[in-house]
Amino acid sequence: FMQRGLDSQTKKQLEEEEKKIISEEHWYLDVPDLKEKESYIIEERSFLRCEDLVYGRMSFKGFNPEIEKLMIQMNSKCKEEEIEEDDQMEADVSDEEMARRYETLVGTIGKKFLRKRDQRVLKDDDEDDEVEERNSNTRPNKRAKKMFLKPQD
């Protein structure tokens, strides 16, 4: 029959030979690990990071109002970077209120995604015993509807 490729036996032989020659350590060089020199010096070819240069587009005395707005924005960006870390956003809603809202929210949204049968079960759990009786009456009726009705001969 058709034989493409080596026999399983010859494959095994080759593997064993390879293993003898190449062991796990073959893949690591014998050179000792070079200590990575911590470089404290960064080379930089741009003047922008050395000197504090302002933005190149400028407008004076209201010649171009958009650029004047941009100038204020750009030049205050440099100063704002230092202050950013200190500012914290004040919360509009307190934490307690948030927790209360979230609790109820999860329940209502969760109900939305229940399938019909589960919804019924959920409803029954919530209601009182008195109401349960009424429901129990309706339950077998509904169940009866859903069960397969044998055709009468």
Partner: protein, 256 residues
């Protein structure tokens, strides 16, 4: 070549250095000498890394000077040393904002002349709000203010007109009219310094708009042609004028 004895970097700040000078850094930056700590004249020991700016190269534990000029130092933020040199020819550097002139449209890419050795490329999608269907209206001969995103000696420089957050923030096509001229790179840096007297004095004269490219190109636009030319002449001449001469010239103008 004889190895030169290096001199301490702080000693030469503000003085002329020549290519080939070796600057020694204080022992903070040398991981071997942990016991000896030299005190910097500035005071507290700088933390973080030292920035080795244009005109300097790292060599061993010191810095080798490659351009002649004045040595500058900034002690803030880890410290930075660089050489303040004068030149007219621009070499594209990543992150620089420059003014380019559109010379050709090649398919989806514009070729811009920025004054370097090669024309830079600018993709039509690199504008704010540009999509494949909504192309920017750029013609040959337009002026564009953009920044380099790729600029090294091995590759063709590439430019974009949006910043990292996708906003144009002032970059893009520069409008109609106005006057473009070329000055040396040192003057541009002087003009872009945080509190430049020249710019402050000029802004008192009349309303005008100014765009400065780091490649030595300046674009000026004022209400009348005469005002534009006056500003151009002042900017070109103020490189070699002293502060007093400049104030006299401006006083004459405002008197007119």
């Amino acid at each position: 070549m004889a190895a030169e004895h290096g001199t301490a970097a702080e000693a030469l700040v503000g003085q002329v250095v020549l290519p080939g000078d070796l600057l020694l850094l204080p022992a903070h930056y040398d991981e071997d000498a942990e016991g000896e700590r030299l005190r910097l004249s500035a005071g507290a020991a700088p933390q973080g890394r030292l920035l080795c700016g244009p005109g300097l190269r790292r060599s061993g534990a010191g810095l080798l000077v490659t351009k002649c000029g004045l040595l500058r130092h900034r002690p803030a933020g880890g410290g930075a040393y660089w050489v303040d040199s004068q030149q007219k020819r621009y070499v594209p550097v990543k992150g620089d904002h420059v003014i380019g002139i559109v010379t050709a449209k090649a398919g989806d890419v514009f070729r811009l002349d920025v004054g370097g050795s090669e024309p830079a490329s600018l993709s039509y999608l690199a504008f704010e709000g540009a999509t494949k269907r909504n192309r920017p209206n750029v013609q040959v001969g337009d002026l564009i203010y953009g920044q380099f995103v790729v600029a090294n000696k091995d590759m063709e420089p590439e430019m974009v007109c949006i910043d990292s957050s996708g906003k144009s923030s002032g970059m893009g096509i520069i409008g109609q009219d106005g006057f473009l001229f070329k000055v040396s790179l040192g003057l541009i840096r002087k003009l872009l310094a945080p509190k430049c007297e020249i710019i402050q004095e000029l802004s008192q004269l009349y309303p005008f708009e100014l765009v400065l490219g780091m490649n030595g190109r300046i674009w000026v636009k004022a209400k009348t042609v005469q005002q534009t030319l006056i500003i151009v002449n002042i900017l070109e001449a103020c490189e070699y004028m002293t502060a007093e001469q400049r104030k006299q010239a401006l006083a004459k103008l405002s008197g007119n």
